[in-house]
């Protein structure tokens, strides 16, 4: 089980790789679309990378509810393991 810090750090790496987000900018309150300029196709890539890294699949209907980095961290925390 990854800790919150580990999840945040891992998510930061994914965001940097997929969307060029500076890791320091990937803080929990940030909105993917409004603050980090991550588009809908990149969100699909991020979901795939999250599944690879944390073993947590994000169904399409859940993906729409994940608006912020914090939302993603919580979802991964709740569903891992």
């Amino acid at each position: 089980m990854a800790s919150t810090q580990e999840i945040q750090a891992g998510l930061g790496e994914i965001l940097e790789e997929v969307a060029g987000v500076t890791p320091a900018d990937a803080t929990p309150e940030k909105s993917f679309t409004e603050d980090l300029d991550v588009d809908s196709l990149s969100m699909v890539e991020i979901a795939t990378a999250v599944e690879d890294k944390f073993g947590v699949a994000i169904p399409d209907d859940e993906l729409g509810n994940i608006k912020t980095v914090g939302d993603a961290i919580s979802f991964i925390e709740k569903n891992q393991g």
């Binding site: 997929v18 969307a19 060029g20 196709l41 990149s42 699909v44 890539e45 795939t48």
Partner: protein, 413 residues
């Protein structure tokens, strides 16, 4: 030469090719007689009859933002690199042209084959959920044109001619028409290709269209030579900025050349084999000369399509001889660049324009022993070293599987 408001000129050039990462290095390597061809060292190629390719000298990824590059197919990366060079070269970026008056015409022969095949591998290995959400925009054949349009902020129409190896030349013709019909004030045109992969290599090899001279990469592409045995697959992109002469002159732009005319025909003969006498090709050249208001005797140089296939080169020689005559200085630059398919017509337009500017005709490499064919024997094909000459009009021929023939006429600025 007189100019009218419908005269169209070239004000910017860009290219990334097997000979260099930009126009200057490519042109220098061409005149120096260097070859862009190498043998594939990957394991998969060992079983292949044809193992030669002409890869881009500079990886386009290194010239693009990393995140942007990963969302573009390699053919699109090359297109954006060449287009940005041409755009900067023209100085059009500093112009106050409304985005709605800027158009793009960018062709490709094959499209995003590397993406299609790479994602198919992922589909087979990992299943449909792992296929990239960028698959479709990366493989669609209008993808390069769209990526270029975004890169330069064009909103006046983005078009993608697809006519195999004539695509790049067709883009130039289309751009000429857009300006003549006043559909735009500036048009960025070009072609791109990047499909070096086992499947296209196997497909072309199955057609017996590729050179199997695997032990002599630099000597494999030998248009018009008696010992030619097929083309060498190349990759890269070239781009040109076109605008009307009056606006280019009034803004003080550097004018490379005039796009004086274009002709397009179809062979109506066979899906892939060229008409043996080059009937459709000759009609395209004739139409281009009429469009330019020139006679055959005005033409001093032809950059031939000449891919180094046994049938294609003799058919083209017959077409050049019948439509222009025996006085022109002919060159076949694919002898050094390989065949860039959908980018070929754009790259060879760049070469034709630079030949006009510098008054020099590049040599056809590897033409040791010209074919016995009567037309090949009759033509003055420049070989051994580039030849200085005085000429004010030059023709670029491009032909594509499907029977597409495009001829472009350029004249000195």
């Amino acid at each position: 030469m007189s100019t009218s408001t419908s005269d169209v000129v070239v004000t910017g050039l860009g290219a990334t090719t097997p000979l260099g990462g930009d126009v200057a290095s490519t042109w220098e390597a061409l005149l120096a007689g260097r070859s862009g061809v190498s043998r594939i060292t990957d394991d998969w190629a060992k079983e292949y009859p044809a193992q030669l390719v002409a890869r881009m000298a500079s990886d386009p990824v290194e010239q693009l933002d990393r995140v942007r590059a990963r969302r573009l197919d390699r053919s699109q990366q090359a297109a954006v690199v060449a287009a940005q060079q041409a755009w900067e070269d023209s100085g059009a970026a500093q112009l106050d042209v409304a985005p709605e008056r800027i158009a793009v015409v960018f062709g490709t022969g094959i499209g995003g084959a590397l993406t299609l095949l790479g994602q198919d591998d992922i589909l087979e290995e990992k299943g449909p959920k792992r296929v990239s959400p960028f698959t479709i925009p990366m493989l669609m054949p209008n993808g390069p044109a769209a990526a270029v349009g975004l890169a330069i902020g064009a909103k006046g129409g983005v078009h993608a001619p697809v006519s195999a190896c004539a695509s790049g030349a067709e883009a130039v013709r289309w751009g000429l028409d857009l300006l003549r019909f006043d559909r735009a004030d500036v048009v960025l045109v070009g072609g791109t290709e990047a499909c070096i992969h086992p499947l296209p290599m196997a497909g072309f090899a199955a057609m017996r269209a590729m050179s199997t001279r695997n032990d002599e990469p630099g000597r494999a592409s030998r248009p018009f030579d008696k010992a030619r045995d097929g083309f060498v697959l190349g990759e890269g992109s070239a781009a040109l900025v076109l605008e009307r002469a009056d606006s280019a002159t009034s803004r003080g732009a550097t004018v490379y050349a005039r796009v004086a005319g274009a002709g397009a025909t179809a062979d109506g003969y066979d899906l892939v084999a060229p008409h043996p006498e080059g009937e459709g090709a000759a009609r395209a050249i004739g139409a281009a000369l009429r469009d330019a208001g020139l006679s055959p005797s005005d033409v001093g140089h032809v950059n031939a399509h000449a891919t180094s296939t046994p049938v294609g080169d003799t058919a083209e020689a017959a077409a050049i001889r019948s439509s222009i005559g025996e006085h022109v200085l002919v060159t076949a630059t694919k002898s050094q660049t390989g065949h860039l398919l959908g980018a070929a017509g754009a790259l060879e337009s760049v070469f034709t324009i630079l030949a006009l500017r510098d008054q020099i005709v590049p040599a056809t490499a590897n033409l040791d022993d010209p074919d016995d064919d009567a037309a090949v024997q009759a033509l003055d094909i420049v070989r051994t070293e580039p030849r200085k000459a005085s000429f004010s009009a030059a023709v670029n021929d491009s032909f594509g599987f499907g029977g597409h023939n495009i001829a472009l006429v350029f004249t000195t600025a």
